[in-house]
Amino acid sequence: MPAHVPNAGLTRRDLLKRTGGLAALAAFTAACGGNTGRPSSGGDDGGGAKATLSQWYHQYGETGTQQAATKYAKAYTDANVTIAWTPGDYAAKLSSGLLSNKGPDVFESQLNIGMVKSNQVVALDDIIADVKDDFQPGDLATNTVDGKVYGIRMIVDPQVIFYRKSLLDKAGIKPPETIDDLISAAKELTTNKVKGIFVGNDGGLALGGPALWSSGGDRLTEDHKPGFTDARAAQAFGKLHELYASKSVLLGAPTDWTDPGAINQGLTAMQWIGMWAVPGMQKAFGDDLGVIPFPALDAQGKPAVYSGGWTQFVSAKSANVDAAKKFVKWLWIDKEDFQEDWSLNYGFHIPPRKSLAAKASKLQSGVAAETVKLTADYGHTDDPAWTPKMNTAFNDMLTNVIKKGADPAAEITKAEKTVNDELSRLFG
């Protein structure tokens, strides 16, 4: 092969050294890839013509979840499914993973319109068609862009306020019904050992959406305009500052609000957290646990529950889109026993399928049942048109209002500009 003959100045030994160096460099660059959930060899060991699929999860806090995910993957026989379990910043890892075909084939996330516009996810209408009526409208809407469904909701995670009944009884106060009640309850429950409420170490960014809903607003209106700009919204954000400034909010806790650590360790009397933590909290307190939605801003407003959760998607860059869709249909539509296991046996989540939720006996009593009811009455899901960039602007606004005590109206104007820029980029 003439093209590969080394030039005259090169001895055989030199050539070996050079190629050796290149091979080492190649091995080094290949090793930089990290854990992508793919087998390091070619994959097809003994699997014949089976496709190899990589499925990405964020790290669930409850023990047993990773084993369960692996169990589901192993039980699937039509493809070799490997699991990538990601502690830490899952969103960042996922975003860069989706830029190339080295990323996941199937992954869990939340839909935003940017993923659709840049062709990162494929529509799943064909696999959901038969059971579409069995999903809650909100769980479909949050995964629908331009009439196409892009994701299958895996679990619904209501976020609400859980509280220690005994501590409220001792202080002689009733569960708060308005934001003002909540602020004064937090103050009264605060002692030198226990704070009134924990809403996150960031001072309550997670409450931005619920506070807005409780005032009657929304992040975006149905015709894609900013919905957080009126005086009542400003009033609601101002209340979040009032809560923060009341010195009854737990800050700097070792674990953040998504983990029941703070309330379980007796650092706080109330905590904003998801229903996933109910088993963990019940272990610590038994029946000494109550639940309320985010309270109404005032008599005009309504309580609010954030109905978050996780959704399964198929990456458009996958080499095996059809196999990936088949797997998603199998796991999140057909295999009801696995869906039930995932929703109820680790943390508590509401199964998005109505038929399955009706059968979920663990959610039919006590504080879990109350949370399910509150979600049905007051739940709000995310609008897929709300992009991460808008969310950053929204959170910056909240930080300035809550922590720095800035004027809500002025901060709203700043966030509104970013949101409008994004909206005109997306919708013209």
Binding site: K17, A92, L99, S118, N201, G252, P388, T392, K403
Partner: protein
């Protein structure tokens, strides 16, 4: 041949991991590049205009400036003081040198987590709050309080702890290069040991080291990321340029066009500062 054998891997690494990304970044900065590194919509200078008028980007530069104002002089004074002390010690000098140098070997992430979870956590059993408790003071939520801005204390102390030892070693090396005859001559001329000798002999003789320490320090401050990312996260009061740009381009936003433009603006700023200092201090010129 052996030249390329030794230099080759390094040059290849430099090309692949530094120059290629810089050029790619330059290209991206002229495109609308959401969720892609192969964009198609050319937008000219719009990304640069957006970044230069983005109050968050400008305020991140402000955050950096405040950080540099704290960290650069503090590191300089404290590492020089440590070097002078360790240099004076007559016994176990190597031991003290190692002890102060050791934190340099610790990772920023690990140190940040220790600072966040055990020393400066906001609950009553955090180390700092326990100490405050002995004096009857209320606990402070160190990382969450912006008024007064207590979060600077963990941010600055973690970096001090990590980097003091390194700059101390630079100063010790500088101190040991000063000829003892200079001190002897000073004493003969009647200079008093202590401040006078320090001011007129030690400090001028350390000029080259001092300038190096200042510049390295300033550049390291520009690169601040780890402790901010781990201690504060993505909150606008403690968000230096790199954390902001990371969130724009590599976090969930994936806006690589604006992120690249911001990174290049930052690179130009660092370049200008470096050139200015070489005008003022002359560090890095030939013959130094």
């Amino acid at each position: 041949m052996s030249f390329w054998l030794f230099v080759g891997p390094f040059v290849a690494g430099l090309l692949i991991f530094s120059y290629l990304p810089i050029i790619w970044s330059l290209v991206l900065s002229f495109f609308e590049a959401y969720n892609t590194v192969t964009p198609s919509k050319f937008v000219g200078l719009q990304n640069y205009i957006d970044m230069l008028t983005d109050h968050n980007f400008l305020s991140s530069l402000g955050t950096f400036t405040i950080f540099a104002v704290f960290i650069v002089p503090l590191t300089f004074v404290l590492s020089l003081a440590l070097a002078l002390l360790v240099n004076q010690v007559k016994i176990a000098r190597a031991f003290f040198r190692s002890v102060f140098f050791l934190p340099t070997a610790c990772s920023y992430v690990v140190a940040s987590l220790i600072w966040k979870l055990s020393i400066f956590n906001g609950v009553r059993f955090g180390l700092a709050n326990t100490v405050l408790g002995w004096f009857g003071a209320d606990g402070i939520a160190w990382l969450s309080t912006v008024d007064p801005p207590w979060y600077w204390i963990p941010l600055v102390t973690v970096r001090l702890w990590l980097q003091l030892g390194f700059y101390m070693i630079l100063f010790i090396a500088g101190l040991q290069r000063i000829s003892p005859t200079l001190y002897e001559a000073a004493y003969v001329d009647g200079a008093k040991p202590g401040w006078q000798v320090f001011r007129y002999i030690t400090l001028p003789q350390l000029r080259a080291t001092s300038v190096a320490v200042l510049i390295l320090n300033l550049i390291a401050a520009y690169q601040a990321f780890d402790e901010f990312y781990n201690l504060i996260g993505n909150q606008n009061y403690g968000r230096p340029p790199l954390v902001y740009l990371y969130n724009i381009s590599l976090g969930s936003i994936q806006d690589l066009g604006h992120g690249s433009a911001g990174a290049l603006i930052l690179a130009v700023i660092i370049m200008i500062v470096t050139l200015l200092q070489s005008r003022i201090f002359g560090f890095g010129k030939a013959g130094d």
